[in-house]
């Protein structure tokens, strides 16, 4: 486990963005031949920025995130994170949160959060202290000894976020993390994530199907086209922070939301 200062020194030389993707193409080999999933995707995410990716189902959002996480190799193109290429999962630079919390059912909440540190054979005292701090951060300080089946869906996803943050990576990737939650919990979790983001200043890439969620959370929304996925719009969200529930009723919010909708409902082919 590197101390925080060292990680930040690592991150500092990144010239333009924390994440820089250029010329990214990907084709899946299937029985029916190659399926072009991503076409010439380029994007830059500045350090500490909150970027949301939206697009029609099957356009390649998860594929893109998998590549950013180093979990899948792209057919062509380059991905830089903190100035260095991503070729394999690197938990020092990138934490990942999936749609399902994917907690290990045989571990307590605390041990789940500590799992990435266990993989690195960090000393037990340090593991526990870090994991406990992360659980506090996501508001689950009193659930440390509970097993996943004793947690609600929202709580599980908080544990998952805590686990993604436990190694203090500069980047956090989230693939529809709240899609399996009910509307109320989802709103609360969005707010919660913004609070965590404000407290940790991570660079966040967040995939969602909810346009409201996209506008509510984002500094910038990237809109993708239907397959093959290309980025067809980069929309800055100039709403002030901290964001509030009331902003959703504003004309500005509606205008931004509508701009995304117009592009997704009639995908440019």
């Amino acid at each position: 486990m590197q101390p925080l200062a060292e990680l930040n020194r690592d991150a500092a030389p990144a010239p333009r963005g924390m994440i820089e993707v250029s010329g990214l193409n990907h084709a899946y080999a299937t029985r029916q031949g190659p399926v072009q999933a991503l076409e010439n995707v380029a994007l830059t995410v500045g350090q500490g920025r909150f970027t949301v990716i939206v697009g029609p189902s099957g356009c390649g959002k998860s594929s893109l995130l998998m590549m950013l996480a180093g979990l899948r190799a792209a057919s062509a193109g380059q991905i830089l994170c903190a100035g260095r290429p991503i070729t394999a999962p690197d938990p020092d630079r990138v934490g990942v949160v999936f749609q399902e919390a994917n907690l290990f059912p045989w571990l307590t909440a605390l041990d789940n959060v500590a799992f990435p540190l266990t993989l690195r054979r960090a000393p037990k005292a340090e593991r526990q202290a870090r994991a406990r701090a992360m659980l506090e951060l996501v508001g689950l300080g009193d659930a440390a000894t509970r097993y996943p089946h004793e947690l609600s869906g929202g709580m599980k996803q908080r544990v998952s976020i805590a686990r993604g943050l436990v190694q203090d990576p500069p980047v956090l990737l989230l693939d529809e993390p709240f899609a399996a939650l009910d509307e109320q919990t989802r709103m609360a979790m969005g707010e919660e994530l913004l609070r965590i983001w404000a407290a940790t200043r991570k660079t966040v890439v967040f995939v969602t199907h909810s346009l409201t969620e996209a506008v509510y959370l984002a500094d910038e929304v990237l809109v993708m086209s239907a397959r093959p996925g290309r980025i067809i719009d980069r929309m800055p969200v100039p709403l002030p922070r901290p964001r509030s529930y009331e902003m959703m009723a504003s004309a500005e919010f509606g205008r931004l939301r509508d701009r995304i909708w117009q592009q997704i409902k009639a995908p440019a082919r």
Binding site: A69, G70, L71, P89, D90, P91, V94, V96, F98, E100, N102, F104, P105, W106, L107, F115, P116, T118, L119, R120, Y147, P148, H149, E150, R163
Partner: protein, 259 residues
């Protein structure tokens, strides 16, 4: 009344009937000797019974090591690697339905009528369910858990030790339970068929001379072995699978016990 108390009452009732039925003359003593008589025979000839128990237990213990060790190892291979799986699983699955007891005479020809043939037969007998359960347990692991572990930088060895094995434990345990029970069945059946020692041998011998108290004394000992195994398994299950009790739905192999 709690299920536990009902269970205790049922057992008590069986024991009382075991004593009362033959004593009252409702059941001939030759069919069912009273419990007290059975226990008396057991006590009077304890050295013989103890020696037989020792033989049977040691055969069970060695066969368990082979069946469980081989079953876990092969199951992990077959479940984890696509090549061996395609090659072996269909063969194993069909073999599982074969009444393996037909092999026993062959084994006595190979290994003699001593402990070796019992161990060989019971090992093969218990091997299949353990192997199939382990393979199923490893194959049904949520791939998302492995993906998550990979995203956290887990090496292949770490994924095996820290994700695949713990995730497979509930299924493997149910396979162990079935495999272990079959090992006990296998040893006793083998002793009853062709043997010169062990509880099964004692029971068969007593039966041929119509000495039913000794037959039932042997049955009682087999019962004790089975109960002992069950208690041991419960202890292991409690220790290993805290989470499985209320966690994900368990996928136990829904295979019938071949005879």
């Amino acid at each position: 009344m709690s299920p536990g108390r009902i269970r205790a009452l049922i057992i008590l009732a069986v024991l009382v009937l075991w004593e009362a039925l033959p004593r009252s003359g409702l059941v001939p003593v030759l069919f069912l000797p009273p419990l007290s008589l059975t226990l008396a025979v057991l006590a009077a000839d304890w050295p013989t019974f103890a020696a037989a128990l020792g033989v049977t237990l040691s055969e069970v213990a060695v066969a368990l090591v082979f069946a469980v060790g081989g079953g876990l190892l092969t199951g992990a291979l077959v479940g984890g690697l696509a090549g061996p799986r395609r090659l072996l699983l269909p063969v194993f699955s069909s073999l599982y339905a074969v009444p393996l007891v037909v092999l026993y005479p062959v084994m006595t020809a190979w290994f003699g009528i001593g402990a070796e043939s019992k161990i060989a037969f019971a090992s093969v007998y218990g091997f299949f369910p353990t192997m199939l359960a382990t393979a199923a347990g490893i194959r049904t692991i949520d791939p998302q858990l492995l993906l998550t572990a990979r995203s956290m930088g887990a090496t292949p060895a770490q994924r095996l030790l820290l994700v695949i094995l713990p995730a497979a434990i509930p299924t493997v345990l149910s396979g162990l339970r079935l495999g272990g029970a079959l090992v006990i069945v296998g040893v006793v059946v083998a002793e009853m068929l062709i043997a010169s020692a062990g509880i099964g041998y004692l029971v068969t011998f007593a039966r041929t001379v119509l000495d039913s108290p000794r037959v039932f004394a042997g049955v009682l000992l087999v019962l004790l072995i089975a109960i002992g195994f069950d208690l041991a398994m419960r202890w292991v299950e409690r220790r290993c699978a805290l989470w499985s009790t209320a966690g994900r739905p368990q996928s136990a192999p829904a295979a019938a016990v071949p005879t």
